[in-house]
């Protein structure tokens, strides 16, 4: 399994938990428009959960620019690499 795919899977579990939806499937193209309730407050909750899961911290600028799953995976890959 590629590194990206592994990150996506771990993210999917986080998304399901944060948005309280076990059916929620995400991929690179998923954006805030595709997920009900993905507003600014849920975004911060999501990012706190992502930081915890991946053991990394993002600054406000990085968090503020994200609008979809593809960008989030890029960010995690960059940080891990």
């Amino acid at each position: 399994m590629s590194n990206r795919e592994e990150i996506r899977k771990r993210l999917q579990a986080i998304f399901q938990e944060v948005f309280d939806d076990d059916e929620l499937e995400i991929d690179d193209a998923t954006s805030a428009d595709d997920v009900d309730d993905w507003d600014s407050i849920m975004h911060i909750t999501l990012m706190v959960a992502v930081e915890k899961e991946f053991g990394m911290q993002f600054n406000a600028e990085e968090i503020g620019k994200l609008s979809g799953v593809g960008g989030l995976i890029d960010l995690i890959e960059q940080r891990a690499g």
């Binding site: 805030a32 507003d39 600014s40 975004h43 911060i44 406000a60 503020g64 979809g68």
Partner: protein
């Protein structure tokens, strides 16, 4: 050009996650949103030039992230992070990079947050009309704005009353510079003065016709010192507009107000008579949370004696 729309388009394109709440505010209170947001976007454009939408959007997004993160930590801890005022000064008011974002972020929050727009409607209804009392044609009555930030509250008072001038006092050099720059670029320099100073101690040359202190109380270790000084700077019978945040954590909030009556009490103890109050919650407040951030406004009048 419709600068408000330029800003909204920029926010939607570059910070999609943060756009929805602002669009919801515009939909919930379309008239007030435009009445407040359109001139503010024009003033920001006059002050910042064509890059204004980026500066406003980045400031706003930064503010929302910082505030929401602080609120989540507060919800877990059960109290504010209790920094000393000196620490907050170093991290925020005295830090130019931080303060520039914060300054423009707060500026946008004035029209982007529905609870702030509701406070603004209350301001238009309960405070601005009172300032007309005793204003003379061609006179130069002063409104003191303590902790003025961008000076936006007094700016709307100046817009409503051509006979009024403002003196803004702020401790942050960045905010004072930005407020002066905006007054100069929008033709208000002759009626606006912004001075660097401590709002708990600064005295005007003469008592002011009216006083404003918006969202400074919760930033202080001794909020009563601000209200005492506000009362000392206000002519007898003069009106005051005071706002504060309750159970709303931000990195620069020190005094944690839990109940509205605490603020009313402080205002009364400073020698003012409370005339009207309003307490509002943000649109997105979730009921399962222990702390719901609120914003409260008080319209008061300097008492003539102990009773009234």
């Amino acid at each position: 050009m419709d600068h408000l729309q330029v800003f909204l388009d920029h926010l939607r394109e570059h910070h999609a996650v943060f756009y929805g709440a602002v669009a919801a505010t515009a939909e919930a209170m379309p008239g007030t949103f435009r009445r407040v947001g359109a001139p503010m976007a024009d003033w920001a454009h006059a002050c910042l030039g064509d890059d204004f939408a980026r500066v406003l959007a980045e400031g706003y997004v930064h503010l929302v992230i910082e505030a929401n993160q602080a609120q989540m930590r507060y919800e877990k801890r059960g109290s504010y992070e209790h920094r000393s005022y000196a620490e907050v000064y170093e991290a925020a008011y005295g830090n130019e990079a931080f303060m520039t974002k914060y300054h423009w972020g707060l500026y946008v929050a004035m029209f982007a947050w529905v609870h702030h727009l509701r406070l603004f409607s209350f301001y238009e209804r309960e405070f601005l009309p009172r300032l007309g009392e005793g204003l003379t044609e061609g006179g130069r009555e002063v409104v003191a704005d303590l902790g003025s930030g961008s000076g936006i509250w007094s700016r709307f008072a100046l817009d409503a009353h051509p006979g009024l001038a403002c003196v803004g006092v702020d401790i942050s050099p960045t905010s004072v510079d930005e407020a002066r720059r905006m007054a100069a670029s929008t033709g208000f320099a002759a009626r606006s003065e912004f001075v660097l100073g401590d709002a708990t101690a600064h005295r005007l040359v003469e008592p002011a016709h009216a006083a404003i202190s918006s969202f400074l109380l919760e930033h202080l270790e001794r909020p009563e010192a601000l209200l005492d000084n506000l009362a000392a700077n206000l002519a007898q019978g003069g009106y005051a507009w005071i706002t504060a945040a309750l159970t709303a954590a931000e990195i620069d909030h020190i005094t944690e107000f839990r109940r509205e009556s605490e603020i009313v009490r402080l205002v009364e103890d400073a020698g003012l008579r409370v005339i009207a109050t309003l307490s509002e919650t943000p649109r997105a407040a979730r009921s399962k949370l222990r702390f719901v951030p609120r914003s409260m406004a008080v319209v008061a009048q300097k008492r003539r004696n102990d009773i009234w």
